[in-house]
Symmetry: C2
Subunit: 456 residues, 2 copies
């Protein structure tokens, strides 16, 4: 039972939406349709204005044992935000203010519902940089922290976890707590901030985050390096890093995919040679440095059988390449039943690509792959053909097993959510599962927050 | 009661030491004498060879409710390793093997008892780099992870937390678990690795760690920049970072301290000008880059009232400066009752220095300060005079309160241990304390592991 009247008393009548046709946008996220969970029948969307209202909602939900699904930008790919039980979708959209861009401390303090796009603009206006770029700019700050978003540009300074220095969190039991601050070092007590990061909304509702920023780099370039085959492209990655060159991003992609995506967005993919390509984003303090390193980088790529190196320097040329790269998911989407997120030790990427090829050959269905080569994080895209042949689960399982066999994991950045929950047991021994479930019970004794997700 | 015979059956007679005169070295750590806890009367030192023996020891300890104090290099400064209850000191010293330096993945896999010195040598031999340098090279890998060691050189790539990708841990209840691996991205389940980091030995015994390495930088330089006063030195730090220059380390120190330390180690402190000094370590891909940035850096310092800039380029000159810097603690030690570890938002360092000055003036006792200016992390050194006047606790409390007032914390890198436990309540609201204690109880239901430490 959902106590709609009580919810209205907390947030005001206008911010409780019960009519099904007005909440359809809140019943799904960006999860691929082959695995998107079915939403429950009886769902109410609530849009609180502040942590105090969220606290009151959660206290009410505890009294009435009502499931609550916190929702950010809805850009997740594992169904975490989908309300699979009758209950409340708690949208953070009204917590949409950037509170402060602190230039002296190089930190941003932002409410949870601020979109990545909005945040990046504010940071840009302050002449600073938030390096990671987890694809969809509709993602919201709270969700990016709750899911430890990754994406491109994690090679140099890491994923979102590396940037989170402070949090305001409403705990499932309703307490509003402040953690950390504008601090670069903090060894005070058990680190609950790092437990909240990547907790996928099961341990608390993040309402505010303090994130570290970097100085804007003086000069950037984006290179597209083409190779005849996957192995040659991938084998080049450790050579670059071992030479002491640490780009912002080293992306792996395939020319056919990029060309297909370019058509989709009415653009032209500029790199015409080869089949397998690396997109490398270099960011350095000044142009002298940048050119010196790009030259060194080009030499390494040539020595490792690159057949073409294209270097984009102007902002618009670079933006074009990244636009096409970031649209791959959308362009492919109608053809794809599910996209995986396996991650292996970086040096094992060539091997996992071979294993993916084997699966592809076994079932006679091509598996296009994009991914973050510098991080060992790949996205094999599973066409609907797998589902039609009734082998999607099986084929995915084979890729998961290959990744684990190589010392990898089933998710590098998308998380577990609901769609990968069936694999939870293959990822951890019983004791670690028991501890995770124990932590959940400690934070959320009535299991009201995002049930059916992440670990339970 | 400690069951010595059972312990001998687990590890062999030679590895259980009961005679008091043979275990004195295990009853203290590097904590300053003004606050070093008193060890218990009835202590046995056990030296297991592997995780299986540790598991057996912990299972026995649970049966008999015997406290167990895991011990690494004993270089901690907050008494965490001191056995304050009758029980077992569990030394990791025999887990002393570097298992692998993996050049392709740029990772090191090391047993917990390997010293920082040993580890750095192996990394150096593989032509790679482990950037952070938490002072005392007698520190051990397991302890560095358990305490999230910081130190100098955290400005560019962060503290030890940023490097930990995999752990083997023996849980207090005896299970041996494997977490993570050679992975740069991992969003699979709640992150227990990050909960273990900085848990100060209360949640498990770390037996093995997989740490990320970096390519060795092609060129490094160490600059000592002198200023007439504290404020001028400190105010320069954000200017450097905002210009897009990210050194490995930006250390704050005081000339009088460095000269005193140099005498202590029979060396000469090379920077003769000014009173307040920044030690800046620059590490870049090649010499061209390095010189370009050092020039830019020097200009910034000059614009901000630097009175002298000394640049050391040869390995031996640089090593000399760092040797003196790392000996400050030892040189001062006999005069010091306790050293603090307050951390504030980086831009508030000048203000916390002023606050420290006020405390110094109030009691009429000079407080020398060193610290990691780039990180907002300062070490005010409290002379014995404070203790003799009976105002040590009061003066420390005033500095703690000033730090918290500025949005800071009482510990940036040393941790809470036993000596800062009285301040636990001022650091967290009751709910966060309850959650931390709940996590402890979940991992260690009988509270056998490092009681009286960190949070409880």
């Amino acid at each position: 039972m959902i106590n709609v009247e009580a919810l209205k008393r907390i947030v005001g009548d206008d911010w409780v939406v019960t009519k099904r046709d007005q909440i359809t946008g809140y019943l799904a996220d960006e999860t691929y349709l082959g695995v998107l969970p079915k939403p429950a029948e009886n769902v109410v969307v609530v849009k609180p204005a502040n942590p105090e209202e969220i606290s009151a909602i959660l206290k009410l939900a505890n009294e009435e044992k009502t499931p609550v699904y916190p929702r950010g930008g809805g850009t997740g790919l594992v169904g975490a935000a989908v309300p699979t039980r009758d209950g409340i979708v708690l949208s953070l959209e009204r917590l949409d203010k950037v509170i402060e861009v602190d230039k002296d401390n190089m930190m941003i303090v932002s409410e949870a519902g601020v979109t990545l796009e909005h945040m990046l603009k504010e940071v840009e206006n302050a002449d600073l940089l938030f390096p990671p770029h987890p694809g969809d700019e509709g993602a919201q700050v709270g969700g990016m922290v709750a899911c430890n978003a990754g994406g491109t540009r994690a090679v140099k300074y890491g994923v979102v976890r590396s940037y989170v220095k402070g949090l305001e969190v409403v705990l499932p039991t309703g307490e509003i707590v402040q953690m950390g601050g504008k601090l670069l070092k903090n060894n005070t007590g058990l680190d609950l901030i790092h437990l909240l990061i990547d907790s996928e909304g099961i341990l608390g509702v993040i309402t505010k985050a303090t994130l570290k920023l970097y100085p804007k780099f003086g000069a950037t370039a984006t290179l597209v390096v083409s190779f005849e085959d996957r192995r040659a492209a991938i084998a080049t990655v450790p050579k670059i890093l071992q030479a002491g060159i640490i780009p912002m991003a080293i992306e792996y992609t395939e020319k056919s995919l990029m060309e297909e995506t370019a058509v989709h967005v009415n653009m032209t993919w500029p790199a015409k040679q080869g089949k397998a390509q690396l997109i490398i984003i270099m960011a350095e303090t000044n142009e002298d440095q940048l050119y010196g390193l790009c030259e060194q980088l080009s030499e390494i790529c040539e020595k490792n059988s690159a057949v073409d190196i294209l270097m984009a320097e102007t902002t618009s040329e670079q933006a074009e390449i990244l636009k096409i790269r970031s649209e791959v998911g959308n362009a492919l989407k109608p053809k794809i039943a599910d996209a995986l997120d396996v991650t292996v030790p970086p040096a094992a990427i060539a091997t996992i690509l071979d294993e993916i090829d084997k699966v592809s050959q076994k079932y006679g269905i091509f598996i296009p792959v994009v991914g973050h080569a510098g991080d060992g994080n790949l996205h094999p895209n599973m066409y609907w053909e797998f589902e039609k042949k009734g082998v999607l689960k099986q084929a995915k399982q084979e890729i998961y097993e290959a990744a684990i066999q190589l010392g990898g994991v089933i998710s590098g950045e998308h998380g577990i959510g609901k769609t990968r929950l069936p694999q939870f047991e293959m990822c951890f021994d019983p004791k670690q599962r028991e501890l995770m479930l124990g932590v959940k019970k400690l934070f959320d004794p009535n299991n009201i927050l995002s049930p059916d997700s992440a670990i339970c």
